[in-house]
């Protein structure tokens, strides 16, 4: 009897129902990661359309309206479909294993928060097939372009955003509940890996701002269908109010996409430097300060709306302040590498590239914070270059680093190191050829979100497009490496990496379906 009982509880169900009904954090983590990768390819395809159209001056492939649909859908899918779910996937897989918990605190809600996502994105993508076309007002959907002047598909967009928001909030509640309640004995808060810390703080950010986003789209919905005038000047409303509400969500949102990345990099660098993370406490405090500051800088996206000078100065100073805790993090990572004993496996390569290229995105962020200079940069390709530097070689590289780092733990096999390195180098070269020239384009005066451009922008645009195609194509290598690694390869040990520290490396590779059903030995829990 007990054998049957064990079977029932300790192995995954068979077939499709395993995935549909699963409450297992590892299964749900895998679902999130695969979903995110699919969205990454879809959003990437839209990006390829954009770069192909911009390869040469003139309109070649698409009309301006479709171009606007592509920029909008690319942004929405990458932010809400690729980056955010990837981090939730990593959280699902790793947080319970890192804190010695058997699963997430709310497993059924976990299933639910994943499974509503495909519906949200199916609905959003279906707008491409509608007669009105997909949303074409940019991922920032400024009113009244997104209300009075929007295509009728906007209602589907609003509903999709509501579902994504609900999913994120449920995910965040789950993570907070797990981290606060389910840590193994001995796992005090200040012994938690930084990935857990950064996710805990991110989860609070999500809970704070996703309802604000929901509020913004609900006000849009009422303006469009129920005759209100929140954002309609003709009815006494205020289009700038939309931007305040949107960016009150939107700025913390960019930290939602980068704080978990900090956590990933803070796990990988010590492993491959074979040296403890420098300044753990300061890392925790820096993360918390960044999260706090993220709530009081939103209007730096709006320096040109005509705020009073006091507002401009406040948001400039507050934004500049973010450079301090962010700098502390970068210095700590460098200090961790300093006098370590480094090797350069693929996760480490991605992590080092993250530190360098994210910092470059940080530098341009500091430049953008300088209000009078921002009058020149705002809404140009300089901004496009800036946020792609923090999001692609920033957030996305950290996700790839994490995937390579934990793949052996997930699959039980080592991935193909040679292919991994090839993927890294092609991505690294591609991403820089793609985005570095965009700084020049922006400084020379090319506005963002235009399907066609003046002749002086021609050269850097074709270079950027070539980089884009290279970067896009290289991602197929990642897909291949992951599939190959799932199928087999060199057996991974439990430890996997010589310098790895933490509870996840004390369980076998592949990690059994259920881990830490009994809490780990407190002696295994070390200072970070």
């Amino acid at each position: 009897m007990s054998a049957a009982h064990d079977d029932h509880h300790h192995g995954p169900a068979k077939g499709i129902s395993r995935w549909l009904f699963t409450t297992n954090h590892k299964d749900i983590g895998s679902l999130y990661l695969w979903f995110s990768f699919a969205m990454f390819l879809l959003g990437g395809t839209f990006a390829m359309v954009i770069r192909a159209e911009l390869f040469q001056p003139g309109l070649q492939l698409v009309d301006p309206n479709f171009f606007n649909q592509m920029t909008t859908m690319h942004g929405l899918i990458m932010v809400f479909g690729a980056v955010m779910p990837a981090f939730v996937g990593l959280a699902n897989w790793m947080i319970p294993m890192m804190i010695g918990a058997p699963d997430m605190a709310l497993p059924r809600m976990n299933n639910w928060s994943f499974w509503i996502l495909p519906f949200a994105f199916a609905m959003l993508s279906s707008t491409l097939l509608m007669e009105s076309g997909a949303p074409n007002f940019g991922w920032t959907f400024y009113a009244p372009l997104s209300t009075t002047y929007a295509p009728s598909s906007v209602t589907f967009f609003i509903f999709a955003v509501h579902i994504m928001g609900a999913s994120s909030i449920m995910g965040a509640i789950n993570i907070i509940a797990t981290v606060l309640n389910m840590r193994a004995p001995g796992m005090t808060l200040m012994k938690m890996p930084l990935f857990v810390w950064t996710w805990l703080i991110t989860a609070y950010l999500l809970i704070a701002v996703m309802p604000v986003l929901a509020g913004a789209v609900t006000m849009m919905l009422f303006d469009i269908h129920f005759g209100t005038s929140f954002f309609n000047a003709a009815g006494g409303g205020d289009p700038v109010l939309f931007q305040h509400v949107f960016w009150f969500f939107g700025h913390p949102e960019v930290y939602i996409m980068i704080l978990p990345a900090f956590g990933v990099v803070s796990a990988i660098i010590p492993t491959f430097a074979r040296k403890r993370l420098f300044g753990y406490d300061s890392m925790v405090y820096a993360t918390a300060s960044i999260a706090f500051l993220s709530f009081i800088v939103w209007a730096h996206h709006m320096f040109t709306v005509g705020m009073p000078i006091a507002g401009e100065l406040f948001f400039m100073y507050a934004t500049m302040l973010i450079a301090v805790p962010t700098g502390v993090k970068v210095f700590n990572w460098v200090a961790t590498m300093f006098r370590g004993s480094m090797t350069f496996e693929t996760p480490m390569l991605f992590a080092i590239a993250f530190v360098v290229l994210f910092t470059m995105g940080g530098f341009t962020g500091l430049m953008l914070a300088i209000t009078p200079a921002d009058f020149q940069y705002h809404d140009t390709y300089f901004v496009v270059a800036h946020f792609h530097y923090v999001l692609v070689p920033g957030a996305v590289f950290s996700i790839m680093a994490a995937a390579y780092y934990w793949l052996p733990k997930w699959t039980g096999y080592m991935y193909d190191e040679r292919l991994g390195k090839l993927h890294f180098w092609l991505s690294f070269i591609g991403v820089n050829v793609l985005f570095f020239p965009q700084h020049f384009l922006g400084l020379a005066g090319m506005p963002r979100r235009i399907p066609d451009y003046a002749l002086q922008f021609a050269d850097f645009n074709w270079i950027s497009s070539i980089g884009g195609f290279l970067f896009g194509a290289s991602q197929l290598i990642l897909l291949f490496v992951v599939i190959k690694c799932i199928k087999g390869g060199k057996k991974a040990t439990a430890q996997v990496w010589e310098g790895a520290q933490g509870l996840e490396w004390t369980v076998a590779s592949p990690a059994p379906y259920h881990t830490f059903a009994t809490p780990p030995d407190p002696k295994l829990i070390h200072d970070q």
Partner: protein, 383 residues
């Protein structure tokens, strides 16, 4: 080498270098323009100052990192150190960046304060953004003076955009009616929008601000050198966001005065013409010209339209139906669609002509001849 061959070689090299350097100048702009105003130069200096700070910090941080990557690798037998925290060091690298930020904030605050001081302007111009054109209106002190106001549309042809004609040097950056301002005068712009949010930007002036419906924003410039300055709408404003350029002609005061007087005369003549009657032939000729300039992009040659977005005018029930309804539609547009209100973009004579034209072309034959007075009557009624 033969002297002749040497000469050829020298010539070729000279030709190549000039070609290369001009193409380098034209196409490989790397940096923000210094521009032609005091604010634009100060903005440029600020930009460079912050950039150099970033470069310096980057060199130090990435330098240490690179040095570690080269020297502290396991393959070189490096043994990891055991240090992992130092409050002293953390304080140092919190305080130093903070001080640098203060050094950056001081000039930034100064330039911003200057840029925000729009007082004591010598000329005020109202700029209104439309999907997808700008309207410039020169504000008068004396309401009895003739008002100067006009629309500024991109004049790059659709054939160039669709790669059917070679692209000119000012591709996408040319307009039919540029904004004209005097040099060395403080010009204040009052900025608003008629529909969605646009942004008016001329990089050489370092002036960029959003044009927001229901709001009036303010900005100013003092241009120091005569010339032609170009910019673009910077805020996504719909389908033709990429096609609403800005061109500013900065003229010496006397030339500006002459231009302004000419505009006033023209405005007076237009007003006078609205009281005249027009003949069918004149209306058809002018109407055709206006149609081809203004309406053809959407309603197409021959009035065929472009389904499903743009309806055909040939055989349209509106165009062959009630005249007043047809006039009202062209005057007021169809809100929420691409069909704009032409009551301000075209003058009464032009409106009368184009409506006469569409009602008597493409196989439509209502025989109606619209007079400017009919248009005026409707315009007055609307007021």
């Amino acid at each position: 080498m033969l002297p002749k061959a040497k000469l050829w070689l020298a010539l070729t090299i000279a030709a190549l270098t000039t070609m290369l350097s001009t193409s380098l100048q034209a196409a490989w702009d790397l940096n923000m323009p210094q521009g032609v105003t005091q604010i634009s130069r100060e903005t440029y200096d600020l930009h460079m100052q912050i950039l150099w700070w970033c470069v310096a910090i980057g060199v130090v941080v990435f330098g240490v990192m690179l040095w570690s990557i080269i020297n502290h690798r396991k393959s070189k037998g490096a043994v990891p150190a055991t240090f992992h925290e130092s409050t002293k060091v953390e304080i140092v690298w919190t305080v130093i960046p903070f001080v640098i930020l203060i050094l950056m904030a001081i000039p930034a605050t100064r330039v911003l304060t200057e840029a925000y001081d729009a007082s004591e302007s010598e000329l005020d111009i109202q700029i209104t953004g439309y999907q997808w054109r700008w309207e410039y209106r020169y504000l008068r002190d004396d309401m009895n003076e003739e008002e100067v106001s006009f629309f500024s549309n991109m004049s790059t042809s659709r054939e160039e955009i669709n790669n059917q004609l070679p692209k000119q040097e000012t591709y996408l950056l040319d307009v039919d009616n540029p904004l004209v301002i005097p040099i060395n005068k403080k010009v204040r712009f009052l900025l608003t929008s008629n529909d969605v949010i646009h942004a008016w930007w001329v990089p050489d002036f370092a002036v960029k601000k959003d044009a927001i419906p229901g709001f009036i924003n303010e900005m100013w410039t003092i241009v120091e050198e005569p010339g032609v300055y170009r910019g673009q709408c910077a805020e996504l404003c719909g389908i033709d966001h990429g096609f609403m350029p800005i061109v500013v002609h900065a003229l010496p005061q006397d030339e500006y005065d002459a231009w302004y007087a000419g505009q006033q005369e023209q405005a007076a003549a237009t007003r006078a013409a609205a009281n005249n009657t027009i003949t069918m032939d004149a209306a058809l000729a002018q109407g055709e010209e206006i149609y081809n300039r203004t309406c053809v992009a959407c309603h197409q040659a021959g009035g065929t339209g472009l389904a499903p977005a743009f309806p055909a005018l040939a055989g349209s029930s509106v165009v062959t139906g009630d005249l007043t309804e047809n006039l009202q539609l062209v005057l007021n547009g169809v809100p929420g669609t691409a069909m704009a209100a032409y009551n301000r973009m075209l003058n009464p004579v032009e409106l009368a002509s184009v409506v006469t034209y569409i009602r008597n072309s493409f196989g439509n034959s209502t025989g109606d001849l619209v007079q400017p007075a009919d248009v005026n009557a409707l315009l007055q009624e609307a007021q």
